[in-house]
Amino acid sequence: MSIDETGQGGTAAPNSARHPHGQGRDLVQLVTPSGERVSHPEFDYWVRDITDEQLCSLFEDMTVIRRIDVEATALQRQGELALWPPLLGQEAAQIGSGRALRLDDFVFSSYRENGVAYCRGVDLTDIVRVWRGNASSGWDPYAINMATPQIIIGAQTLHATGYAMGIQNDGADSVAVTYFGDGATSEGDVNEAMVFAASFQVPVVFFCTNNHWAISEPVRLQSHIQLADRAAGFGIPSLRVDGNDVLAVMAATRVALDRARRGGGPTFIEAVSYRMGPHTTADDPTRYRDANELEDWAAKDPISRIAALLERKGLLTDGLQQQVKDKADAVARGMRTGCTTMPDPEPLDVFKHVYSTPNSWLDRQQDHYARYLASFGDPAGAVSEEGAR
């Protein structure tokens, strides 16, 4: 099997993006699939500060979120979670971008960016809370400056653009970053968000993880040009980056963030990656995609790539590997414990986290519901209520 060093997808892959209109451009790549650090005249500058220590920690984060993913998938198979959307194969795109953000930046993601959530410091139990069906939302967005995952495809891009308009009004230099997939670029919401972002030149980064499959729909059916080239139609500058190269992703994200902070408006990043697992645990990708394609992409695995880079640099010691593994196991253990010991929600919890300020209408409903619940335990009370009807 031949490995193509550009990372554009194997020649045998039926789903590699083809560009009949000649719009194709090269991926930004700083590390090849075999772990060789290649220089880039423009982007080297943006990762010049990354030390060996930081490289090791990027490797650790990517390994940890893969472990989280594996554990959550197992929890679903064991009946502990109703559903889980695996991120296998997209670790570099999530860690490379997530680690580039500042604390005061704000993330609006889809449901697959659990690695980004990990970078934001989300409590691991909160990651699985929604997927267990225990709450309609996992965490306080303002605690970690990341909105809870959006299930509606692409809707979060509008939220990000709106938030960015707020940042602009405040005169702040933070940035709204929104994550979405290749399929979302075909949604009206994403297009509207890009129109508004360009019109108002707001500080927002559109981070599109092109994982090649919108569930069973290959990206080539949705776009006859590269997704990054769609941004030009909105007047938004774009970058096309090797999404399995954590350094390149970090560099591209920093370029976009810097532009936004300095009033340069939105940027569209297409991180070319691959969803190596199913769309969700309820999906079977073998029904619609070629095993050869998966094999091609496995050769470009983001974690193997950074491991190979570390090895070339002599950093991939047994000590590091053991340390990373221990960390990953501990995180997975914590998440499992948090998941399986999570108390069931109380019926009245449904009224929580709806309005931040008191709402008389909701209070009334809550009061009715509380009395309704009480009627189960107190038949006498229910009778009198019945009589009042």
Binding site: V70, E71, A74, Q76, R77, Q78, G79, E80, L81, A82, L83, R132, G133, N134, P278, T280, T281, A282, D283, D284, T286, R287, D329, A332, R333, G334, R336, T337, T340, T341, D344, P345, Y372, S375, F376, P379, A382, V383, E386, G387, R389
Partner: protein
């Protein structure tokens, strides 16, 4: 201690999965998340990771078995607390036992809180929960198929639109409130049997308790066995309505109608014909010596017309044998005639009616009607019919959608013969007009065959001389 692993819902809203193979055997030691089995759902083949670290104690299901979500599939011998910390993260906390319980939620632990995982307990039947859903089938499912066929009731005179019948019984549940429903469920009371005294028939808590009063079961006591609740017999309710247990002919009729209406796709066609010539022929025959003392009615001629038309459209005299995946074409005709009897609707049939002359047929029809009304029809005459006629015209009705006698391919409803302004030789004249309604099993009979048969019957009644072209 022993831990059970119950089959989880592996997709969103799946109710069952097939065990493809076990990757472990009894006695094997497994670690947390070690793959123990491969399972195929409607959506995908997935590997099942072990939820425990321990020793496989028992495999409850064989490979190739389709297992309902929530059923235990494997038991583990799991070390007690001391060993657990080392073996797996799941066992670190007090919640070690939790997983298996969660998996089965909504299935085994029905009386507890509703499942809180998406898709859980979705459509699992045979749970103790949805008593209210089972009410939909009047008289039970036709597991009594045989019995139903032994005494086949069919769409009959009174049932102009019998299709509405089963639908009616499946519509709204009795009006009540959730707490009262819960009370009723806890007490084993079927709300369908309770008369509501609240606004617009709302069933109140008092109604339920009053219903149960003879049994003296105050709220909150042990749930009574639903089977023990006695129907009917409440003083004030009995004034406003009468309750009759569903049994006997009514029960069979209901089962047969439900079975027929929901297995055989019915198509109905209507034809309105000027039967004046047939009525004139009847009058002539009544005066003839051969028919002296024989009861002749439009039904007699219609029956004969059906028997003649069947020769040209044999598909209407056949049966769908789903069990053997065969179509059974009868080389004889047992002609069923729907009869209203004091016990209810019955459909006795005339054996080998195709071999009878008109006189014999007329005599057989008269005898059949008399026997049926007297309630003395022999069981043998109630089974084995191959096609039926229902004479709704005697009730002054013109047309309707008859429901097939189960197992038969066609049923013809005869409407009333009315003097009606009708086109006759280029003018409007008062003619004797009748509407024929034919329902047929569209699995067996196409529109072409059904239409041709109906047209033939109509042609014979409109001009009996047309028989000459058909025999």
């Amino acid at each position: 201690m022993i831990k059970e692993f119950r089959l989880p819902d592996l997709g969103e809203g799946l109710t069952e999965s097939e065990i493809l193979n076990w990757r472990v055997g009894v006695g094997d030691t497994v670690t947390l998340n070690q793959v123990i089995a491969e399972v195929e759902t409607a959506k995908a083949v997935v590997e099942l990771p072990s939820p425990f670290a321990g020793v496989i104690k028992e495999l409850h299901e064989q490979p190739g078995t389709v297992v309902e979500v929530g059923k235990p599939i494997v038991s583990f011998e799991v070390a007690d607390d001391a060993g657990q910390a080392a073996s797996g993260p799941a066992n670190l906390s007090a919640g070690a036992g939790e997983p298996a319980q969660l998996v089965g939620q909504g299935v085994a632990d029905a009386p507890k809180r509703e499942p809180n995982l998406v898709g859980y307990g979705a459509v699992v039947e045979s749970t103790s929960r949805p008593a209210r859903r089972q009410r939909n089938l009047p008289g039970g499912r036709p597991a009594e198929t045989n019995a139903a066929q032994a005494a086949p009731p069919v769409a009959g005179p009174a049932e102009t639109k019998p299709a509405a019948k089963p639908a009616e019984t499946t519509t709204e549940r009795p009006r009540s409130t959730p707490p009262v429903r819960k009370l009723a469920r806890d007490l084993g009371v079927d709300l369908a049997e309770v008369h509501g005294t609240g606004p617009r028939g709302l069933i109140t808590r008092e109604d339920v308790q009053e219903f149960l009063h003879p049994l003296a079961a105050p709220a909150g006591t042990e749930p009574a066995d639903p089977g023990q609740t006695v129907p009917g017999s409440r003083q004030d309710a009995s004034v406003r309505e009468t309750r009759t247990p569903i049994k006997g002919v009514r029960k069979f009729t209901a089962a047969a109608m439900v079975q027929s209406a929901f297995t055989a796709p019915h198509a109905t066609e209507f034809l309105t014909v000027d039967v004046t010539p047939a009525m004139e022929l009847l009058a002539k025959l009544r005066d003839s010596r051969e028919f002296a003392g024989v009861k002749l009615t439009p039904l007699t001629l219609a029956a004969k017309a059906v028997l003649i038309a069947l020769r040209r459209s044999p598909a209407l005299n056949s049966r769908w044998d789903g069990e053997n995946q065969e179509i059974v074409a009868y080389n004889y005709v047992n002609l069923g005639i729907a009869a209203a009897t004091p016990r209810g609707l019955t459909v006795p049939n005339i054996k080998d009616a195709d071999g009878l002359s008109l006189v014999q047929l007329a005599e057989a029809l008269a005898a059949l009607a008399e026997t049926a009304r007297a309630g003395r029809t022999a069981p043998g005459d109630l089974s084995g019919g191959t096609i039926s006629i229902t004479n709704i015209g005697v009730f002054g009705i013109d047309a309707g959608t008859p429901i097939l006698n189960p197992g038969e391919a066609a049923i013809l409803a005869l409407g009333a013969v009315r003097r009606t302004p009708w086109e006759y030789r280029g003018e409007i004249a008062l003619r004797q007009v009748m509407t024929l309604s034919l329902s047929f099993d569209h699995r067996l009979v196409d529109g072409e065959q059904g239409s041709r048969f109906l047209a033939d019957v109509g042609a014979i009644l409109a001009d009996p001389g047309m028989v000459l072209t058909m025999v």
